[in-house]
């Protein structure tokens, strides 16, 4: 009888063959787990918005959160002066130093802001912000950089549509390795 398990095996075998992977008997000790059980860990946001959660936030909602949780390191209004990089900066890239990179002049996708803030910030309390707070902080940073309007709400629909100025300025170093 041809069961779903057989189908998986057959597909794997086919894939192994097409990918040039040698097939050897393996222990099969991995425990099946469904995506629902992984949801809390599944925090990757892709540039097209894949993975963005429900929720929403505006620059006005982000301002007090920023003052409370971010300004100590990133400076008042994100303008720097603390231990961590400025987040609001109008400079143009001048020279090859990484110190020239800012969100406005370098970051190609606004989704990266959401992704990084949610997984890694605040530094001493990572992954502690609610999705609404992350949207609000992302909106605040984008608005302070004049990349969105002062009243624009960021959510799963609007965030991927933000056009970052430097998006088309990258060269894939070794395309044949992708």
């Amino acid at each position: 009888m041809f069961t779903p398990k057989h189908a998986i095996l057959a597909a794997s075998l086919l894939l192994a063959a097409t990918a040039g992977v040698s097939w050897a008997e393996t222990p099969h000790l991995g425990k099946p787990i469904d995506e629902a059980a992984i949801a809390n860990w599944d925090i990757s946001i892709l540039p097209d918005g894949t993975g963005l959660p429900k929720g929403s936030g505006t620059p006005a909602q982000g301002a007090p959160i920023f003052a409370e949780k971010c300004a100590a390191c990133h400076g008042d209004n994100g303008k720097g002066g603390g231990a961590a990089a400025a987040l609001v900066d109008d400079r143009q890239i001048n020279g090859i130093s990484a110190s020239q990179k800012t969100i406005k002049n370098f970051w190609p996708y606004a989704t990266t802001i959401f992704d990084f803030v949610r997984r890694a910030m605040p530094f001493q309390m990572p992954h502690s912000l609610t999705d609404d707070e992350v949207y609000a902080l992302t909106a605040y940073i984008l608005a302070e950089n004049k990349l969105i309007g002062a009243n624009d709400a960021m959510n799963a629909e609007t965030l991927p549509k933000v056009k970052m100025p430097n998006r088309d300025n990258f060269i894939i170093r070794f395309p044949d390795r992708i």
């Binding site: 050897a24 425990k31 992984i38 946001i45 990266t112 390795r177």
Partner: protein, 443 residues
């Protein structure tokens, strides 16, 4: 600075010819092979330094008493206390932390585990191995969860591989040579034997949806560090590493498990690995969209550099050391390439005017440290020592002029601990002064 002294033939202590193979005292590498016999011959024929005035040998105190008890896990002699990593953030302030390998104080090709370089982005996590999980999901046929115990029952494989931070050697972007040791300049690369499970084995078990072109690897550390890796690399030589030089991974190197991508930028070798998600498009995480994209002189930027390209540097003699008088020295250094084995290393003692081929210490392994050695008779005059490596794929380490023409340089020296740019693989030059002192120079 080049001096073309034509001492075409020198003589060793048996009176045999040591053939000069390049300017300023470089001697044919084959002279290394007979060196043991050279000294034996010198003894038997009574030729050698005069022995006048030597103190009679006596037992030292340690030869006259019982020594210390052994320790369950031994550490180096107290006399080796200076052989240690330099820390960029010893007080664990809320920022990245780096520990650099002291290559100028090490030999061979294996970096001891306690001296392997580390970079961590939110301290070193204290992970209970019994509670750690690795999940593989996304565009797979069957998402699976693994524990350290179950992974340890898989067929294990070992390979030697260097690991290098994409920002290693960043001070070399300075417009003037920074007077720093090999450790400060090139300490963010190390080499170990890694043992673990081939990632392709686990992906055979999950199955891969043909739409999957990338995987996102993510750690269990506080920044939940994540990087996108082409499935192509995952099916080639990627490993879930569980052991480092025979013992479990060091905490700072990713305990209890990490992704190992031989030859690829260190940051992609995600430590504390807890999740692999197969996807159609790369994540453009902060580390790939910003940190590990490099600004080019024309204002554009590289993305997905991945490769740590062919590189070498001389570790002995090097900055901060002083030669103790003219005579025979062995120049020694490290070469490695993310695209395969080292094919050859050329060494110059006259700032690149003439070159001689160095001896490569076996074994020469793909994507691993290779130790090169070059006999050199220093005549006491100025010299500029350089090494230049070729790999089996035909790639050659660029000269500094070539490198700067393509990648640019800074307008002023950067902070020594900074990362102004990345993927620097050009030649390092050590200037030897007439007093034997060694400085970092551009030549």
């Amino acid at each position: 600075m080049a001096r073309s002294k034509s001492t075409s033939q020198d003589r060793d202590m048996r009176g045999q010819a040591l053939e000069a193979v390049a300017g300023n005292g470089l001697i044919d590498r084959r002279a290394l092979l007979g060196r043991g016999m050279m000294f034996a011959g010198a003894m038997s024929t009574g030729v050698g330094p005069a022995a006048a005035g030597a103190e009679p040998l006596a037992d030292d105190p340690w030869s006259l008493e019982i020594g210390d008890p052994m320790s369950p896990y031994q550490v180096p002699s107290k006399f080796e206390a200076k052989v240690k990593r330099t820390l960029s953030n010893p007080n664990n302030e809320p920022r990245n932390s780096h520990a650099r390998t002291p290559h100028h104080l090490l030999e061979g090709t294996t970096t001891p585990n306690g001296l392997h370089f580390n970079i961590n982005h939110g301290g070193v996590p204290n992970i209970d191995p019994d509670k750690h999980r690795l999940v593989i999901h996304g565009l797979v046929k069957q998402p699976l969860e693994f524990t350290l115990e179950t992974l340890s029952r898989y067929p294990l494989t070992s390979r030697v591989s260097f690991l290098e931070c994409g920002g290693n050697s960043a001070p070399m972007f300075s417009p003037e040579p920074m007077q720093e040791t090999v450790q400060a300049l090139h300490g963010l690369v190390s080499c170990a034997e890694w043992t673990g499970v081939k990632l392709s084995t686990l992906l055979e078990e999950t199955g891969i949806d043909p739409k999957a072109k990338w995987l996102i690897a993510e750690g269990a550390d506080s920044p939940h560090l994540s990087r996108s890796v082409p499935v192509k690399k995952a099916l080639d030589d990627a490993m879930i590493a569980l052991y480092q030089n025979g013992e479990r991974l060091m905490p700072g190197n990713g305990y209890p498990m990490r992704l190992l991508l031989p030859g690829y930028e260190g940051n992609m070798n995600v430590k504390f690995l807890r999740r692999i998600k197969l996807v159609e498009q790369p994540q453009l995480s902060m580390y790939e969209a910003r940190t590990y994209s490099q600004i080019l002189p024309n204002g554009k930027a590289y993305r997905f550099y991945f490769l740590q390209e062919v590189k070498s540097f001389i570790t002995y003699p090097s900055h901060g050391m002083a030669l103790k008088g003219p005579g025979l020295y062995e120049i020694s250094g490290l070469a490695y390439s993310g695209t395969g084995r080292i094919e050859k290393v050329m060494v110059s003692a006259d700032g690149g005017q003439s070159w001689a081929q160095a001896a490569l210490q076996e074994p020469v392994l793909s994507k691993a440290f290779t130790r090169f050695r070059m006999p050199w008779r220093w005549d006491g005059g100025p010299a500029t020592l350089q090494s230049r490596a070729w790999d089996e794929a035909g790639n050659v380490q660029p000269t500094r002029t070539e490198f700067v023409a393509a990648r640019g340089e800074l307008t002023k020296p950067p902070p020594i601990l900074g990362f102004p740019n990345q993927h620097y693989n050009s030649i390092t030059s050590w200037g030897v002064g007439s007093g034997g002192e060694i400085k970092h120079v551009y030549a």
